[in-house]
């Protein structure tokens, strides 16, 4: 497939506005602002079938249409550049290598929703990305793609980069808003939804970096072109896949939505890392989504195909595990992450995540009790669906799927009081 999102990244000085402009950059913004109504832009994005690349896969055009049509208050667009889901590193590539594509997408989105400002909330650890972005924003202002009278029109909109302080939870949409407001990064109970009352209580829409980077080409080449890429009309467009784990060539790969998982692992990724260690399991959408057994890996990487297997495309972080992987240890590592990152606001997640981690540590230490496996599953069931934000689910799903799909291995760990996986590395 022709590269869309990554077409510029290997060019020299790919970050500079001149290189971006030379490749036809900002034509989408110019077209939107000078020849389309905001409503036309929303319609185009709806028609393209674009769904959010941040994790939930929510239809982007529909989300944009929730913003009030009559403006009585300032509107804001937030670009979620907090990318912290384990196994996910695609937004970083876009920001560091081709920041203007994302900026153009931000400004088109802002025009569609008549936003007064766009805030790019960037992960605190992305020091280099912040520098690149700061420079790109300055260039965009200079060329009137941001600020006053954008593209010579009477529409104005500010563009601000805000660096986070290093909490995973601040990537959750409402926690990002409280953090941006200068408060502790706590998710908010919904309703109200962001389009009614978001950041500073104003109508707000939040989108992922990659989602917004898709927008310029939808405007320039048309919704039908975009919708023509992918599995079907519900799973469209070009997509970045983050491949990691036991493969020959980990990295970010661009391919159409719906790329077969096996093709990603064996063709693009060059196959398993060790010829004698076959595929054992794969997490297809970042650490929070349920794991797939090797037998389940004949699946296309799109929202609906993965949902049919009761997992998800999530943030498209594909983590490949070979036969040497100890599933207890892998799950312990994941559960440690969520226990560490739980904001601590709501009871089931705050208390449950730490509890699950401590039980897993006990099993890993060879001190697991017979009842521990059922207890783990039960704690996860008591968290799922009962929390303020989806971090609770994100912590529960791996536990539920690991202990169910690899129950024998957990059982052996408890029975033998040690790891029985051949070649597994344990600290």
């Amino acid at each position: 497939m022709e590269k869309v999102l990554t077409r510029n990244i290997h060019k020299e000085n790919s970050q500079s506005i001149d290189v971006y402009l030379a490749g036809g950059g900002y034509e989408g913004l110019r077209k939107a602002v000078t020849s389309m109504s905001p409503g036309d832009v929303v319609e185009a994005v709806k028609k393209s079938g674009l769904r959010g690349r941040g994790g939930a896969g929510f239809p982007t055009g529909l989300k944009w249409s929730f913003m009030p049509k009559e403006k009585t208050k300032p509107h804001y667009l937030l670009c979620n550049a907090d990318e912290s889901e384990p196994g996910t590193f695609k937004d970083r590539l876009l920001m560091e290598q081709d920041p203007h594509m994302m900026i153009e997408g931000c400004m088109i989105g802002a025009y569609a929703m008549q936003a007064d400002a766009v805030f790019v909330y960037i992960r605190g650890e992305f020091v280099h990305g912040t520098k690149v972005l700061d420079k790109a924003v300055a260039e965009a202002y200079e060329k009137s793609f941001a600020g006053k009278n954008i593209c010579g029109s009477d529409w104005s909109c500010e563009l601000v980069v805000h660096r986070g302080a290093g909490a995973y939870i601040c990537g959750e949409e409402t926690a990002l808003m409280t953090s941006l407001e200068g408060e502790r990064g706590y998710p908010r109970v919904k309703p109200p939804f962001p389009a009614q009352a978001g950041v500073w209580g104003m109508p707000t829409t939040i989108n992922n970096v990659e989602t917004l980077a898709c927008v310029p080409d939808i405007i320039v080449r048309g919704a039908d072109w975009f919708a023509g890429i992918g599995t079907d009309e519900r799973n469209t467009g070009p997509k970045l896949y983050c491949l990691s784990g036991h493969v020959q060539r980990p990295g970010v790969y661009e391919a159409p939505m719906g790329l077969p998982l096996k093709e990603l692992i064996y063709d693009l990724g060059g196959g398993m890392l060790h010829a004698d260690r076959p595929l054992k399991a794969c997490i297809p959408g970042g650490s929070s989504v349920p794991v797939l057994r090797a037998e389940e890996c004949d699946v296309n990487l799109d929202f609906d195909s993965l949902a049919a297997l009761k997992t998800g495309l999530g943030s498209a972080g594909i983590m490949v595990m070979d036969s040497s992987t100890c599933m207890v240890k892998a799950l312990l590592r994941i559960s440690h992450f969520y226990a560490h990152e739980s904001c601590g606001q709501c009871t089931p997640c705050r208390e449950g995540c730490g509890w699950m981690e401590r039980i897993l540590q006990r099993i890993e230490d060879g001190k697991g009790l017979q009842q521990d496996i059922d207890l783990l599953k039960n704690i996860a069931d008591n968290i799922e669906g009962r929390t303020i934000c989806a971090l609770g689910d994100a912590a529960a799903w791996p536990v539920q799927s690991f202990v169910t799909k690899f129950r024998d291995e957990f059982q052996a760990h408890v029975d033998e009081q040690r790891c029985t996986v051949q070649g597994a590395a344990h600290a």
Partner: protein, 533 residues
């Protein structure tokens, strides 16, 4: 109005009502920790999960608004299972030191654990350890381990006082409640955080380890600290050795907590009012009627002498009266009737002003019944009376001393030496009492029934919470006893209600109201007294 069904009971409730409010309004208990009617909705404890038909997940009742046709289940198996799960989560890192916790007996964690928990712990992997007994404010101690992170105290300091001393620090199950660096929980309303804390994480220094809550007898009354007239509950300790004889509650006042009245104080009281009992309990009391030489006088003799002095001075036009603005309407009406009976007196109401009005509850006018006193005695200020007395223009000066704090009884200077007879009627052995020629004890605040009018013109009941100290009698009774000696026919009053009936028949502010109609939340009088009266 939306029609909804909760546990099979159909009800109509106003749009915008939450499921929790709707359930509570019909007497259905949905367990909840973080929800507090005086604060914003946090939705963090997850204790109030209920099933709403057609919703994919359980919903939190505290935040879910009713919608027409909604069918809610608050007690089915799914809900009970969720409640038990949340209880289990709340308890796994809780120290369970109930035997030494002040909250025991009124702890929502204890209560819900019994009602909604499983009774057994599946948690055996070590609790998160946090700090205990941290001094965080003039009146407040914190036990971090006991905190269930409901954020009520934080929201109180952010939303009610706007002082923002508290927040959570760290994340996950390491989350700690604590003070911002350099801050102390010293706002003038800090004690409310203790009341709203559902567990024993925040305790009041003045109440810590003082007693067990099941040894307390509570009486609804009104604070006498200032003209706001906050509604409170006064708890009197029951002497533990008297446990077996119910009704013997008299180990003094142990604490004062707010009583909800949306028209007056909402859910809150100030720390000064909350702790006003301490000075009262500590004050030196006048044990019995006395003459200037501290000799005990027989009551009949004392009131005869006092009545005589009043009559003689009045007939010469040389009687002066100064009353505390913390006296009840009944006492003041009895006093006024006596004055009218003897033909009048130079009358003044003492003014007790300190500090400034704030924008929450506290009033600079510390006269809890300033408005009632102004309406009944028609007088403000005591300066003219004091001046006349100082100039030697009065023979008898009657001073009705303060009923809450001896330090608030009017400073008479050397006026006692300029009058023939200074009659002190008050509960305390204070400076005015010492200077007096005749001293008649009365019961203090919380020792007698009656009414007061607050700054907004609301008549409210003040109640006897415990037995008066010494020989203190209700003020109106003392006044009544003075009538014969003063040569005035005594009215036929045998209760404070009788006095109130007489008052409402003769004083505009109270016209049309009756003692029975006041009720626990008070009654707005037809013509609200002017602010600061």
């Amino acid at each position: 109005m939306p029609r909804i069904t909760i546990d099979g009971v159909e009800m109509e409730v106003p749009a915008g009502t939450t499921v929790l409010q709707a359930a509570l309004s019909r007497g259905r208990e949905v367990p909840h920790y973080c929800y507090h009617p005086g604060l914003s909705i946090a939705g963090n404890c997850r204790m109030c999960l209920v099933e709403v038909e057609k919703a994919p997940k359980l919903m939190i009742a505290c935040q879910t608004q009713v919608a027409d046709g909604m069918v809610v289940h608050t007690q089915n198996e799914k809900v009970k299972q969720a409640q038990a799960a949340v209880m289990e989560f709340l308890l796994i890192n809780h120290p369970l030191d109930c035997p030494i916790c002040d909250q025991a007996g009124e702890c929502r964690l204890q209560e819900y654990a019994v009602e909604h928990g499983t009774g057994v712990s599946r948690h055996d992997v070590g609790k998160v350890i946090q700090s205990k007994a941290i001094d965080i404010g003039k009146h407040i101690m914190l036990d971090q381990e006991r905190c269930i992170q409901c954020s009520r105290c934080i929201r109180f300091c952010n939303e009610v006082t706007g002082t923002g001393e508290l927040d959570f620090f760290q994340r996950g199950d390491r989350t700690k409640i604590g003070l911002y660096p350099g801050k102390r929980l010293d706002n003038p309303y800090s004690g409310n955080t203790v009341d709203i804390c559902p567990v024993g994480a925040l305790t009041l220094k003045e109440f810590r380890f003082a007693t067990r809550v099941w040894y307390l007898k509570n009486t609804p009354t009104v604070c006498a600290g200032c003209s706001r007239g906050c509604n409170v509950m006064v708890a009197v300790g029951k002497k533990q050795e008297l446990m077996t004889s119910p009704g013997q509650f008299d180990d003094g006042i142990k604490r004062i907590v707010p009583r909800v009245n949306e028209q007056v104080n909402g859910h809150w009281i100030c720390d000064e009012g909350r702790l006003s009992y301490i000075g009262l309990e500590a004050a030196g009391r006048l044990p019995h009627a006395q003459d200037a030489d501290d000799h005990e006088l027989d009551w009949d003799e004392a009131v005869r002498r006092a009545g005589k002095g009043i009559r003689e001075a009045a007939s010469a036009g040389r009687l002066g009266v100064i009353a505390t603005p913390r006296a009840t309407n009944e006492t003041l009406h009895a006093l006024k009737s006596l004055i009218d009976g003897v033909g009048g007196a130079a009358t003044g109401v003492q003014s007790i002003h300190r500090g400034e009005d704030d924008n929450l509850l506290i009033r600079a006018d510390k006269g809890a019944n300033s408005a009632g006193a102004a309406a009944i005695l028609g007088a403000t200020g005591a300066d003219d009376v004091l001046r006349s007395a100082g100039e030697g223009a009065l023979d008898t000066l009657v001073v009705l001393g303060d009923l809450l704090d001896p330090a608030d009884t009017i400073d008479l200077g050397d006026v006692a030496t300029r009058v023939k007879q200074l009659i002190y009627i008050g509960p305390f052995a204070d400076a005015a009492s010492k200077a007096a020629h005749l001293r008649l004890p009365v019961s203090a605040w919380a020792e007698e029934d009656g009414t007061m009018v607050n700054v907004d013109g609301r008549v409210q009941l003040v109640r006897r919470c415990h037995r008066p100290r010494g020989e203190g009698r209700p003020g109106w009774r003392v006044m009544l006893d003075l009538f014969p000696g003063a040569g005035v026919e005594a009215p036929d009053w045998s209760s404070w209600e009788d006095v109130y009936t007489a008052l409402s028949g003769g004083t505009d502010t109270f016209r049309g109201t009756t003692a029975e109609s006041i009720g626990l939340l008070g009654l707005s009088t037809a013509e609200p007294a002017p602010a600061g009266a």
